[in-house]
């Protein structure tokens, strides 16, 4: 880096130019590890034999300069500076047996490993990009033919399907789906329809059975459905507040009357 220049030519202009150069440089670095890798090249040794201590000094000096020149450094760079300052102290001071954590040597070794690994990945990236690339050195087919997809529907049926279908047709008269026989059924709607106009006259208590439609009292099946429907209709009317219901005791006749408004 340009340490020397600052000392030999501390003029304002030179300082400003250097400061600008530094800003450009910091921008050009891909983070503190990249900066360290660049600084380490000045040692001109294999990364495995690098002096991490010297590297830490260089880095800290760089950060000092940047500070002196009021250059805003990204937090990453400052974190690295703090870590390197710590590493430097560990490397310089005799190890404190009381202190926990990794030794300075371990930390230094890891930093060296990181630098070597980053450099290796740089090399790998360069080799990768130097390969014959598709669309630059090698080319795919220019005239392509579309594969047309022909949709075909295959219908299937099993023997069981076939037999069941046949049995269904041939036996449909015997086994038709179960359905209510509507001729002997009085519905709730029918009972309601019948009771509504009648209750207007029921000023006094009247037996519920008197509301049953004519002709539904004889046959037991018809009587049961008519009773149930009429009773259900009376409950419906009571719910809407049109009538009152009473029953003297269990199984006693049920009586209704119009509710006075």
């Amino acid at each position: 880096m340009s340490d020397d220049e600052f000392e030999t030519a501390p003029t304002d202009v030179a300082a400003r130019l250097a400061a600008e150069a530094l800003i450009v440089d910091v921008d050009g670095f891909e983070g503190p590890l990249d900066l360290l890798l660049t600084l380490s090249r000045t040692q001109k040794v294999d990364l495995r034999e690098i002096s991490v201590l010297a590297l830490a000094r260089q880095y800290l000096a760089f950060v000092e300069q940047a500070r002196a020149l009021r250059i805003e450094l990204a937090a990453d760079y400052l974190v690295m500076a703090a870590w390197l300052a710590f590493l430097k102290s560990r490397l310089l001071l005799p190890p404190d047996p009381e202190e926990e954590g990794p030794s300075g040597e371990e930390m230094a070794a890891h930093l060296a490993f990181q630098l070597e690994r980053l450099e290796a990945m740089r090399g790998a990236a360069a080799k990768l990009m130097a390969r014959d690339q598709l669309g630059r050195d090698r080319f795919a087919r220019g005239i392509t033919e579309d594969v047309s997809r022909v949709r075909r529907v295959a219908y299937t049926a099993t023997l069981i399907d076939l037999m069941q279908a046949y049995a269904r047709i041939r036996t449909k008269d015997e086994f038709r789906p179960y359905a209510f026989d509507r001729s002997n059924l009085l519905t709730l709607e029918q009972a309601l329809e019948r009771m509504r106009p009648l209750i207007g006259f029921a000023g006094d208590w009247t037996d519920l059975t008197s509301y049953m439609p004519d002709g539904w009292g004889g046959d037991p099946v018809r009587r049961r459905t008519a009773t149930a429907a009429t009773f259900a209709a009376s409950l419906e009317l009571a719910k809407e507040g049109s009538i009152e219901i009473r029953q003297g005791e269990s199984f006693a006749p049920i009586q209704i009357r119009r509710k006075s408004p």
């Binding site: 005239i143 022909v150 399907d161 076939l162 046949y166």
Partner: protein, 221 residues
């Protein structure tokens, strides 16, 4: 000729101002025709290949080399392209088969034909108690499960339907007679094809009975 040439680079080097060997020119034409998005004219080839090349000759070599291959060097107007060999066009279609259950109408119609063949459309409708659409019959014919049998010798000479060998194949039957449950159903009197009351019973042909029902299967009308 198809061997990679170890001296190629050397030759390319020294032939900077002379045409590359013909084998090399052939490779070049091959690569250009392969990678270019449109058919390439001879003029274009001349423009792209090293000075002094003879792409017309290289093209001729290449065309012969691809004779009988899966792709062919094809002339399109004034230009050249690599195209799929005509007999392999079928590879450029991919059939997507979708399996679906036969509709209820179709399976019922099929069942009636299988059990009652040869059977007319009117009879099928009578048994089902509901009309049979043209589409249902067509579908079954298209599937090769039913085909036309001989015409019924009744007024109007209606066409009959019978099941096919493909049908027997699909349902793993030797014979429509083997249809499981057929004899049981018949014993139960469920196969009686009684004419609707009051009708003149147009199916006197049915009188021939079962033998007829089966023979229809292998008679080609």
């Amino acid at each position: 000729m198809t061997e990679p040439d170890p001296d190629r680079d050397l030759e390319m080097e020294k032939s900077l101002f002379e045409a590359p060997p013909m084998a090399e020119q052939e490779r070049m034409v091959e690569a250009i025709l392969f990678a270019t998005a449109d058919p390439v004219t001879l003029r274009e080839l001349i423009g792209r290949m090293p000075h002094g090349s003879d792409p017309a000759r290289a093209l001729e070599h290449l065309r012969r080399r691809y004779e009988g291959r899966g792709v062919a060097i094809t002339r399109i107007g004034e230009a050249w392209a690599i195209r799929t060999a005509p007999d392999l066009g079928f590879l450029m279609q991919q059939e997507v088969v979708e399996t679906r259950k036969l509709s209820r109408a179709a399976i019922e119609t099929l069942a009636i034909i299988a059990y009652h063949q040869p059977v007319t459309r009117a009879e099928i409708e009578e048994i089902r108690g509901v009309g049979v659409s043209r589409g249902t019959i067509d579908q079954l014919i298209e599937m090769s499960w039913i085909r036309f049998g001989r015409r019924r010798m009744t007024p109007g000479r209606p066409v009959t339907f019978v099941v096919t060998e493909a049908f027997l194949d699909h349902f793993a039957l030797e014979n429509a007679r083997d249809l499981p449950g057929l004899s049981e159903l018949r014993a139960a009197g469920l196969l009686d094809n009684r004419p609707p009351p009051g009708s003149e019973g147009p199916e006197e042909g049915e009188g021939a009975g079962e033998g007829d029902a089966q023979s229809g299967l292998f008679d080609d009308t």
